[in-house]
Amino acid sequence: MNDPPRDDHDLLAAHVAGDAAAFGVLFARHRDRLWAVALRTTGDPEEAADALQEAMISAFRRAESYRGDAAVTTWLHRIVVNACLDRLRRRKVRLAEPLPDDLEEHLGRGSAATATPQAEDPADVVERDDRRRLVLAALDTLPPEQRAALVLVDMQGYSVAEAAELLEVATGTVKSRCSRGRARLLPLLAPLRGEGNPDTVPRVPSTGAPPATDPDPPHPTSTTGGEQP
């Protein structure tokens, strides 16, 4: 007889109790979503892998600090987002090169689940990848906090309230960051709105200019999850 699958809380509790396999099961369950958040927030596969590893270590070691007042997946995402933001903030000088050439390769590995037709026209694939690359390059120009908010809300599909809980800020702060981020992105995404040719769009991230600091100081939060690892 097969045991029913354990839920996230059970797995985390089992890990704290000494179950050697529980954390691996739990992390694997959410790994792809965590990877997506890390990759899109950092904009760099190596940075994302480092952040995800750092977050995993932190979660493994500090599982006892989880108090259960947020979903386990929220807790995990929060740790990953914090690891990404820490890394972005530490990155004093932005690399002068555009996004790594293999970013789309990384992105493409998981994009099968985005309902891409099996026999898609190669030209469409190229065009979609170009669009995606341009969006990510534009995102890379934003301050980390705005980027994280947009990744969570607009790209990962979290509600504003969920993103606020994840980022440990008020919902108004998330709305403000998203709104300001979108405003900054609008001109950069103009080619995708039929206002120009993507091939002629300047690669804004290649200027090497570091992103501005967050212009949106956090609002007093009413949604603190509490169990910051």
Binding site: A20, D32, M56, I57, D154, R180, R182, A183, R184
Partner: protein, 254 residues
Amino acid sequence: MTADERDLTPEEEDEVTRLLAGAGGPLRTPPDVVARLDDVLAGLVAERDADAAASIPAPSAAPASLEGRRRRRWPKALLAAAAVVAGGYGVTTALSGVTMSGSDSAGSADEAAGGAGAESSGSDAGGQAMGDRVRRDGADGQAGEAPANAAALRDQPPLLRADHLAEDVSRLLDDAAQQKRATDGPAQLLKGTLPPKAAACVPSRLGPDDTWYLVRYDGRRAALVAAPPDGGTVRASVLGCDGERLGSVAAPAP
């Protein structure tokens, strides 16, 4: 407010949202990242097991021999791994004849990346992967014969904790010194072989009399590089497989 920070119309805001959503969607974690995470996780589990085993009190009536104390601090499996590392992984450049100073960190990072890929298959067929051996003739590794202690090599290398670095390094050096005295010493290393994982984590720079050990530092593979004793102290640095300096400590010479 700058021109690009003006309030967007609802239509503009929706359009940006749509473009971001179009670039979003599910992703699958690349296999090399999965392998790397699995590797680190295995290290964390081993580390926790070691901590748990170390916290078990020894029988109070037992004589407190040096060996007994050592065994209480180092669980059996770790002792075996430490001994293997001390005898098999510890390499001095003088003895091995490998000149490391010509390497750069990029090369080291490339090696690390290759190692991660190797570990991907290693997690599925670890025995096979670890059974293969790389003989270090110059900078290139070639498949060599498996040493007799291949089974022991499958154990985790010594674990170093960032928050107990001095203590852990001191212990490792003590055990390495004891192993050296108990065997024919590092001269054996002239013909020693390195497992693939160690080859992918070779420090890019070593002093002529430095000794290094493959370790796990907070769950990740790393190399501990120890300088020769100086005034009763050994300066040791922990280097990540990408060459990043992760920590350093001055430990009492064994």
